[in-house]
């Protein structure tokens, strides 16, 4: 008897976890934003949107994309709002007609190159890919100064980055680097036995522990690590060949059951309150009037000297080549020989 009561209780709790209330609206956000940033956002969101239940699904951008793509293929999309870091995937979603058009009044101040002219997605934050190096293993003078140098034999066995099949920022970096330096650059990285696995936090921990000496990584991971532990043996290197911008979009799915709530959340993330929450998560804002994240170089300094200029042409071409780039990268860097 007691057992059956317990089962009933479990079933009820499971239903509650799966279902949610009746009058409240539920918005499911698929994102690659770090859990600690989500945790900081949650109380603010709860206060701003008392009538909306927000469900987060957090993974690497490419994992999120793979999941949402198969949901679309199965005709059953759970996401209402998407906020990940691979801009090319949004272009793809837009071309296939999966995104809801919404021209938020808040998006006005965003530079045009970072704002979809058709109003289906907008850059909500701008993470930046840079270099890092383990300061206790590599002397000052020997630090890598450019992305390019990582293909030099001096770095054999010593370098790492994220997996572009999992992480949107790693993919964006691969796309930019191959456009700038060609696939020979990646042949060099393979010769150096570069370890490309996991996300940026995994890269950080590999460099911090000295498993690898240097890596290609998101600036925000380095800023956060330095803020937590000023003596951590890692340095931020803004590459002389230019940082890689990862303009990270936000979009509403056309299939959403709660378009109003989704639009309100969309506006919130573009508002000063939403933007400063993201900036305090160590990401740049697409609005140039906002302060840079604590400890980072000013907006203009970084954005005026990037590896590649961010243009619509670049966006479109890379979107078309997205699967090819991954395949080439996998066969050059990841697959056994």
């Amino acid at each position: 008897m007691r057992a059956s009561l317990l089962v009933a209780a479990i079933i009820l709790s499971a239903t509650a976890a799966c279902g949610g209330g009746e009058n409240r609206q539920t918005v499911t956000i698929y994102t690659s934003i770090y859990e600690h940033v989500i945790a900081a956002l949650d109380p603010v969101l709860a206060k701003t949107f008392p009538d909306v239940t927000i469900r987060w699904f957090q993974r690497g951008s490419e994992d999120v994309a793979a999941r949402l793509n198969s949901e679309i293929a199965a005709g059953r999309v759970a996401a209402d709002l998407v906020m990940t870091s691979d801009p090319f995937w949004y272009e793809e979603l837009k071309e296939a007609g999966h995104l809801l058009e919404y021209r938020s009044p808040r998006a006005a101040g965003i530079p045009p190159a970072l704002n979809d002219p058709d109003g289906t997605f907008v850059t909500v934050r701008v993470p930046v890919m840079v270099l890092t190096v383990n300061t206790s293993r590599v002397a000052d003078g020997a630090w890598p100064r450019r992305f390019r140098e990582l293909a030099d034999p001096a770095w054999a066995g010593r370098i790492t980055m994220g997996d572009p099949n999992r992480s949107g920022s790693a993919f964006t970096a691969v796309a930019a680097l191959q456009r700038k330096y060609g696939w020979e650059y990646f042949e060099g990285l393979r010769r150096n036995d570069m370890l490309a696995a996991g996300g940026n936090s995994a890269v950080l921990s590999r460099v911090m522990t000295g498993e690898k000496d240097a890596g290609i990584i998101l600036l925000e991971n380095l800023l956060q690590a330095r803020a937590q532990n000023a003596s951590a043996p890692i340095a931020i290197v803004y590459p002389e060949d230019g940082a890689i911008l990862v303009p990270s979009p936000m979009a509403i799915m056309k299939t959403t059951a709660a378009p109003d709530a989704a639009r309100r959340l969309y506006d919130f993330f573009l508002s000063d309150a939403g933007q400063s929450a993201l900036v305090s998560g160590w990401m740049y804002s697409p609005f140039d009037h906002l302060e840079p994240p604590a400890g980072a170089r000013p907006w203009r300094e970084v954005f005026s000297a990037t590896l590649l200029p961010w243009t619509f042409e670049y966006l479109h071409e890379t979107t078309r080549a997205r699967d090819d780039i991954k395949r080439r990268f996998n066969s050059i860097v990841l697959e056994p020989r």
Binding site: A17, C18, G60, D63, A74, R76
Partner: protein, 541 residues
């Protein structure tokens, strides 16, 4: 009329059980050739033209075979030493050597990644160079073997302990020395049990996901389970069907080896249970006693202490690898438990799911065991299949089947329900076995006496069977609860927004998001599972 109702009810129950347990696996096989778009071999062509997949089949066989050899090298001497020699502390070793049986192997993978990372592994630092490299095929075998040797250890141990000791005594009296007895009598007699254990290890290694995913991926070593996983997670709808095609060889490997293990296990049981005439005379190890004791102790050190030490220490280090006192901190615990909302959610989900799955499994298991204990009731064969197929089939394939089965028209996918179904189907066998053994050992006249006394079937079930089977039901509950709590292989394919489990939280941290924090979750899972193990042991007493 009531008989008709009884039959009808029984049929419905059996049908539901079949939908939960065998339907997903059959659907995987069907979908590998017959998709909603039509019948096609395209997915087989796709799956088997990819050299990475062919390589994965080879790797699966190599890893599994090597794990069997490594496990045998550990398990057989260990079982003989604790069961048949005057090894000091044999009884304590007997229990300690079983601990890896209840711990999820992926925890071992995380521990050994800390210990034997080629550049910064602690063992390599201590050795002053790269001596050990966990990111190799050998690394996968090492970690799997240190966990799965317990299967062989268990089958060998029970054969040794059930063997009639007079068989060995007779050889001694005939003039054979202790090692001649071991070679000519003991080992041949327990060979079926050893082989059964070997096949279990093979099947488990071929089905393993967590260890090859964590250890093999950085080494660019893929096995079937990790390839299926990547087809499912990144291949969209077509990827599901390619994964189904790739599942078929894995299913064949797992089921064949499992059937061999089962058949040998049965045979072994019959020959070994000849009654216990006397306590076995123990072989005196003489001068070797203490060196061998040290060797067994070092095995316990390798399987239990060193990995636990590694993950506990990692979880307490601010900068991993910095061994100064000033570097010790509980910040990571604070971060993982308080800042990341997914950790607490994972623990709540896993606890609720494991509890519900264990409760359901013992409820269904009691019914199944009751039917098995009544030879005149029909459908025992079919029930056997329902219970054992999902247990023998790799979890990856069961999960893929659940995805195919529950996406449409009833979309349970991404809910806790589908995880619950997965856990119940996978672990039902453990509950059924525990309870069936107890039913077989219970005199059927105890039931008949109640019937004669005026109690109907249900009344007899409630007043006689349930109380008599309570210890076995409790044991079955824990046998399901512990693996369900730490489950990873199926969960990783089945979790959706808000339905994270501890296994998937840990996997995501280790493999993608934040390896240093993974050690914290690993410590918490380990502590929880060992506490449950201790509770089960205390309740069983």
């Amino acid at each position: 009329m009531s008989r008709f109702v009884g039959r009808f009810g029984g049929g419905v129950a059996a049908g539901l059980l079949a939908v939960v347990t065998i339907a997903p696996i059959i659907l995987v096989v069907i979908r590998s050739v017959a998709t909603p778009a039509g019948v096609t071999w395209r997915h087989y062509q796709e799956a088997f033209s990819d050299p990475a997949n062919l390589q994965a089949i080879g790797n699966t066989l190599v890893v599994s075979a090597a794990t069997v050899l490594f496990a045998a090298a550990l398990a057989i001497p260990a079982a003989w030493l604790v069961a048949r020699t005057d090894l000091p502390g044999a009884r304590r070793f007997r229990a300690l050597l079983l601990v890896p049986y209840v711990v999820p192997p992926y925890l071992g993978a995380i521990a050994w990644i800390n210990l034997a990372n080629p550049t910064v592994g602690w063992l390599n630092r201590a050795a002053g160079g790269t001596v050990f490299d966990i990111y190799t095929t050998t690394g996968i075998v090492w970690v799997l073997g240190l966990f799965y040797y317990t299967f062989m250890y268990l089958t060998s141990l029970s054969a040794l302990e059930n063997m009639d000791a007079s068989l060995e005594d007779a050889a001694r009296v005939s003039g054979a020395g202790p090692f001649t007895v071991l070679r000519t009598i003991t080992l041949p007699l327990i060979r079926p049990a050893i082989l059964a254990g070997a096949f279990l290890v093979f099947a488990a290694s071929a089905s393993a996901f967590g260890v090859p995913a964590l250890v093999g991926t950085p080494a660019r070593v893929h096995v079937l389970t990790t390839r299926i996983y990547s087809h499912v997670t990144t291949g969209g709808l077509d990827g599901l069907y390619t994964a189904a095609a790739l599942s078929v060889p894995l299913l064949v490997i797992a089921l064949l080896t499992w059937m061999l293990a089962d058949r040998l296990g049965r045979g072994g049981r019959i020959t070994s249970v000849t009654g216990k005439a006397s306590a076995p005379s123990r072989v005196a190890l003489g001068a070797w006693r203490w060196p061998i004791c040290a060797a067994v102790a070092s095995l316990v050190f390798l399987t239990c202490l060193l990995p636990v030490f590694a993950i506990v220490l990692t979880s307490l280090m601010n900068v991993v690898g910095d061994f100064r006192w000033s570097n010790v901190t509980i910040d990571k615990y604070r971060y993982v438990l308080l800042t990341r909302p997914d950790t607490a959610r994972g623990f709540i989900n896993s606890f609720a799911l494991a509890f519900a799955a264990a409760t359901l499994a013992v409820a269904i298991g009691t019914g199944v065991a009751y039917v098995q204990g009544h030879p005149h009731l029909k459908a025992r064969r079919a029930l056997d299949l329902c219970v054992n197929l999902p247990y023998a089939a790799p979890g990856t394939i069961l999960a893929l089947g659940l995805i195919l089965l529950w996406s449409w028209p009833l979309a349970l996918i991404d809910t806790l329900w589908v995880l619950l179904l997965a856990y119940v189907a996978k672990h039902l066998s453990l509950a059924v076995r525990s309870i069936t053994t107890a039913v077989r050992q219970t005199d059927v006249t105890l039931e008949e006496a109640a019937r004669i006394s005026g109690a109907g079937v249900m009344m007899t079930f409630r007043t006689i069977w349930i109380p008599l089977l309570r210890p076995a039901i409790l044991a079955g509950f824990f046998l399901v609860f512990m693996p369900a709590f730490g489950e990873l292989t199926m969960s990783i394919l089945l979790v959706g927004p808000g339905t994270e489990t501890v296994g998937t939280v840990l996997f995501a941290l280790q493999e993608y998001a934040d390896p240093p924090s993974a050690s914290v979750v690993a410590v918490l899972i380990l502590a929880f599972i060992l506490a449950a193990y201790a509770a089960a042991a205390a309740l069983a007493r």
